[in-house]
Amino acid sequence: MRQLPWLTLLIFWPLLAALVLPALRGNPAACRRFALLAALGELALSLLAVCLFAGPVPDLPVIEDWEWIPTLGIRYSLSMDGLSLIFVVLTSLIGLCCTLASRHDDARRPALYYGLILASLATVQGIFLASDLFLFALFWEAQLIPVFFLIGIFGHGERMRVAFKFFLFSATGGLLMFLAVVALGILAANGPDGPTFALDTLVNLDLPVTVGRWLFAAFVLSFAIKIPLVPVHMWLPDAHTEAPTAGSLILAGLLLKTGGYALIRFGLPLFPEAAHYFAPLLTTLGIIGLFYASAVALAQEDVKRLVAYSSIGHMGLAVAAIVSGSRLALGGAVILMVSHALASGGLFALAGGIGERLGSRRFDILGGLWNKAPRFGAAFLFCILASAALPGLSGFVGEAMIVFGLFTTSSWVGGLAVAGMAVTLVYLLRLARDVLFGPARSPLPFADLDTRETALLCVLAVCMLLLGLFPGPVLALADGPLRLIAAHVWPAATPGL
């Protein structure tokens, strides 16, 4: 059982499904059913991987390694440790949510729509599994393509402008990172191991300090754009606002997480010296991002835009935690990212529902939705509370670990992170107030969640509760890989608290 190429299957199963979809293009219902089955299959695959490799007899990391371009030392090598596994499962889960998210956006060209969703799942799984730097860069660039078309074709409003904005922002960063990858390959080619792009080898590469810093800057710029870190976040609010619901789910749930994941997996271990050097800068930007995005979110007039800014704030906190040098905060950042994917995924799905029902998501036509649609209201409030880090829900576990970890390294940063919990609540309560409560400002009817939407939100809510109350298994998965990374990057730091 364990010998099958599971990782390859995880990546290429959705892609394969995407390629089959055009055959069904005349029949929207069949497209939906097929995409749903494909996403369920992907989820089943990833759960199977959990059972096989992280079950009672754990066997992590799983490695698949084949030669690809031998002259350049490029290999097709995938590796899945606990950290990857968390994000792989998250990706399949969000993928399932994407196929359930909307029966409105997919009306025009269902085959293309679901094909793009599945293709983006494949590329994201690739990012989480690649352990060859060249392969990683390839997936990193490839993930832009489906999302670009998803926004450009199926978006709302000025979708082409926004899609280009998204693409140019990401491609600029990606290009620099690609150059840095090539540079690393050249530097490694002169080294003792010959030409190679293997992460495990490259982390031990002895780089001159300045070179390391420049390359780190190139990598981090690319990650920062994707995360997104203030001040290179400008693409995100626009992209979220105009993207179809599934696009928003992919953006918030997956693309942003690839940035954080890549920072942990590649950015830090490849350039430990530069990571130390730039840590104060990244911490500052992250904390500024937390407060800045929270303040800006309060003033928003569109539900999706508000949630988009909340993503920037949460991810800013995650970045500050990742570079802090505390393992506890690092683990918290992982949980926070997962939790954020679930909570903001739920909020985006519901915001998409608002747009479909009322034709607009502006606050001035909302209000009073609780009375019109109690199930919708309960789900919306639940996601808001998970975002607001109410203990018992997933957000709290991440934020608590981050705060407690940050306090061990710097009480200033820790104090600011604590204060962030208050400014976060300010805009989240405003969101609840203006959407759910008060008099209804639109005379249009507002149907409550139907079975499909209820199922989607229930899945997300159960995950948020489980992660909030029993984060143990997830933390255990993340523990080993993060321990290795932290030992490599911060060898001087004392283990444990």
Partner: protein
Amino acid sequence: MTTLLALMLLFPLAGAIVQAALSRSLSRPASGAVAALAIAGSLAAAVAAVWNLGVAPHQLSFGQWMAFDGFSAQFSILYNRLAGLMAVTVTFVALLIHLYSAVYMREDKSFARYFCYLNLFVFFMLVIALADDLVFLFMGWEGVGFCSFALIGFWHEELPNVDAGRKAFLMTRVGDLGYVAALALVIAASGSASLSGLTAGIDTMPTATATLIGFLFLFAACGKSAQLPLSSWLPDAMAGPTPVSALIHAATMVTAGVYLLMRLEPLLSIAPDVGAAAAVIGAATALYGAACAMGQRDVKRILAYSTISQVGYMFLAAGCGDVSGAFFHLQAHAFFKSLLFMVAGIMIQAFHEEHDIFRMGARLRRAMPGLFILFACGAAALSALPLTSGYFSKGRTLADAVAHPGPAYLLAFILGIVAAFLTALYVFRLFFVAFFADPADPAKLVSEPELSRMERPLWPLAALALVYGFVNPPEFMGLKPWLDAYLAGTVTPVPPEVEHAELFVEILDAGLALAGLGLAWLLYRPALRPVAAPAGVFTTGLGLDAFYRTRIAAPYQRLSVHLWRGLDEDVLDGAASGAGAGIAGLSRFVARFGSARPSTTITTLLGAVAALLTWLALRLT
């Protein structure tokens, strides 16, 4: 024991889940009955657990919550006599309030949502009462904050109610920042934060650290208990249904801050500065609340300020390190204040949602004599008329302050004494105006049989308000102080100085209460046809709320708009599109050199050759 504690917690939680899951199919009576049964089950478990409870605390854990890299948090319980009594008090008052609510909410559509939140609240409150791990306690702490938000804004069609709930949630969250920071400090030192762990490690903790942690917890307690400077959310919290005000904003949640300080007693005992600060804050708040209550006309707002004021006395006692005294006042207050709130609820419904006491008057007394007696019991206890529960419990807190040496405690005592006089004054102002006056502009009195049905659950509270003081009478009366004796092994025993001071304080307190009663009669007796004074500084709570609104909330809102429109859209987005436009312009400029016209092409070619030759020439020379 484990089973009983688990049942105590699970009953209300299960009740909440049932209400949420079956919200559509439950009928109104069934919904109320299920909710009340859940609380009754919890009360039974609480009583059974505290029955024959020894002095030794029980420590147990329902499992691990999170563990990572040396940090761990457990679902753990520290069950001792203090926690046991707190759990009984909470569930007992909650049960009566549930019974009352079943009638009170008789016309409301969303009864299932109401009882769901109410049950959930009891669950979280019990978590606060029982938790050992401070992270687990924080779950209850934030959970009650959320329930309070949801119930204040229960009638959410009207935005002012929602805003009041939002204010409560935000202000208590600001206090909670202190809690999280304190947790972080404790965890950074030892990897986990629990009450038992803190107590065990108290000998090795430096005073400076203990003081810092203590102040942070005190800040959190001030937020939850609506003490200065975080008090201004409580008066607005009255926007919620009245039983909610009775349960959450009088009897239980607002006392959670004091309860936290009681549970942290070992920490406070090595950080005397924190205790002194708590005492002074408490006494100052007691005076502030009493003075502001004088300026109100809304019966619920009077009681809200009165709650702020009475919780201040609990802070005073807790700051003096007298846990059993603080707990005594907490219980007495829970009984008489929830009684008063529920009476106020009936008064308001009797006048068809009229809150203004200056539109009530003697007709109410004549129409509902039972209600009048209930109110009189509560008022007597709140104003500390001799031999009522409030008399003994408040006297005890003042005696604590007298017995403590130091100018801070002297100041606290003086503030507390003045507040005690004002308390009697505002209570009897309310009493005479609402039940004796003959208003010029009376509200319409309605008579419904349900109103008297709501009185029934209140009689036990009225009895307790009158006689509960004899559970812990002062030493000079020669009766057995049962509560002190019961808690003797659990908390620091009462120092003898307090007992010596009690005689003096009780006499003074009785005099002040009677003087307040007399002055109130002089000022507000029906013959004078009292009218409300025009709104003044006390009506608005000394402008504290306005200060937060205009100095913090409004500037933050302006800042947020400014950041968005000014910085985010103009500068950052502008820079991005500017860069894009710049590159496009450059590309057009460059494109001009390569156009299809022969003259341009030749010019470009010659120019390039010239540049190349110049460069070569420079290189060669």
